[in-house]
Symmetry: C2
Subunit: 277 residues, 2 copies
Amino acid sequence: MTTPDLDNLEIPQPNGSLMLAWQVKDRHVLVVGGGDVAISRVNHLLQANAKITIIAKDIDPVLHKYNELGLIYHLEERPFKPTDLTMHEHPKSRTKLLAYQQSLAISNTAILDETFISLVERFDKTEKFAMVLTAMNDYPTSLSIYHRCKLLQLNVNLADKPAQCDFYFGSVYRHGSLQLMISTNGKSPRFANRLKTQILIPALVPLDVDNAVACLGHLRRQLKEVVCAGSDADTIKERMKWNKAVTDFYSVEEWCRMDQEKVNELLKLYPKLPTKK
Amino acid sequence: MTTPDLDNLEIPQPNGSLMLAWQVKDRHVLVVGGGDVAISRVNHLLQANAKITIIAKDIDPVLHKYNELGLIYHLEERPFKPTDLTMHEHPKSRTKLLAYQQSLAISNTAILDETFISLVERFDKTEKFAMVLTAMNDYPTSLSIYHRCKLLQLNVNLADKPAQCDFYFGSVYRHGSLQLMISTNGKSPRFANRLKTQILIPALVPLDVDNAVACLGHLRRQLKEVVCAGSDADTIKERMKWNKAVTDFYSVEEWCRMDQEKVNELLKLYPKLPTKK
């Protein structure tokens, strides 16, 4: 890293959001609600392989169909009840965790034993809700779900109530491995959606991004497993440097038209870099 | 909503991420680490107005400079210790919450009283870390931070350790109100970055998106507060319908060239819609 000029640092501009790709694969997510907004939430969650539980008094036929197709982990057409928030937790998990919390709270040196680690991991990955999303017209119930989630330390989003949201959903474009999210930070979601449809997607559609990502994935895998295998710091650095230089040697358009045979030729050059396209 | 054809539903494609705009404004975030990756994390957090705490044995001059400029809430140049994870929490908050959790766990009807609600809100918004980010070369320490975060139910990201991440950072473009995140779901971060730089940004740069967002914000505010005020369901529906139709009447490019005077003329048309541009 070159030493930056400390008197002329470019300070990041505030008042945006922290845009993140959340990992909910195989983790429980609760959707309370069964209408249009709930469908939209479920569609987002299916893209991320979440284990979805839906609870609502009235559930749209689309969600019932998803359930018949095996896409939903658990569905109950009935009013929400507070104990739903811990429905997949083992009855004793939280009590055990609370005891651990209390014993560890005062100590900087307490050792994390195997029993503790396996309990914590099982609870986090397979029992608790990674997030709770409400999409219902009953604000008092929704608000009480929010407070209970906060008590249970669950991440929560109340549709249309930004003050009670740990996170917002944006306008997302998905094409194979590529995902794009666009946001005006709540100022005009409709305009964000039109920017996406009218400006960004047309710029991406002519490109075979999936092919590029597949070729670059092949390059990286072969490099790591065959051409320049090893896990010491120097080897990793060498590999990353060559990979970066080759990635940058071709334009985005060229990678989108690349094929695996050509990638294999490139790999034969290692440690030299290509000089012509 | 038109009834969809249940036998030909378009099922969302799996194996992506859940892309979200996380809200950390005025909320505590802990960064353990003080090098290049930590700087990158802090830059992301500053864009989202987080209250940043940095703890590391060695802290880069850039982060010290940020601290001098008042951008960092708390900075300590020393090794991490486990009690740091709860450093901004009132010593009694967790114990009180644990007691509440235990008493509410078995009950579906327990009432959330005011004392409880204010404790939960204060704890969530002003005491606990909304997320913990480690960016250090010491994996055993990093992993023990991960397990302790999971015990304390804090969201966590270990740089370069995807298995220990509740979320990933993507390649983000920011211009005023507009934010864009692009991800290849971990398959080729470098290519995602090049797609952003070479394809998406050039498509956006000629557009004055900030002006469009400002005009649309003015339109929506005036509509809500003056032209079609009211908070009953019918008024809201009417307002949203007109707002949507007017937003869609002009192209993205036209909104980027719009001015406030023209927006005021549009508002005078209400409830009619514009017929010519």
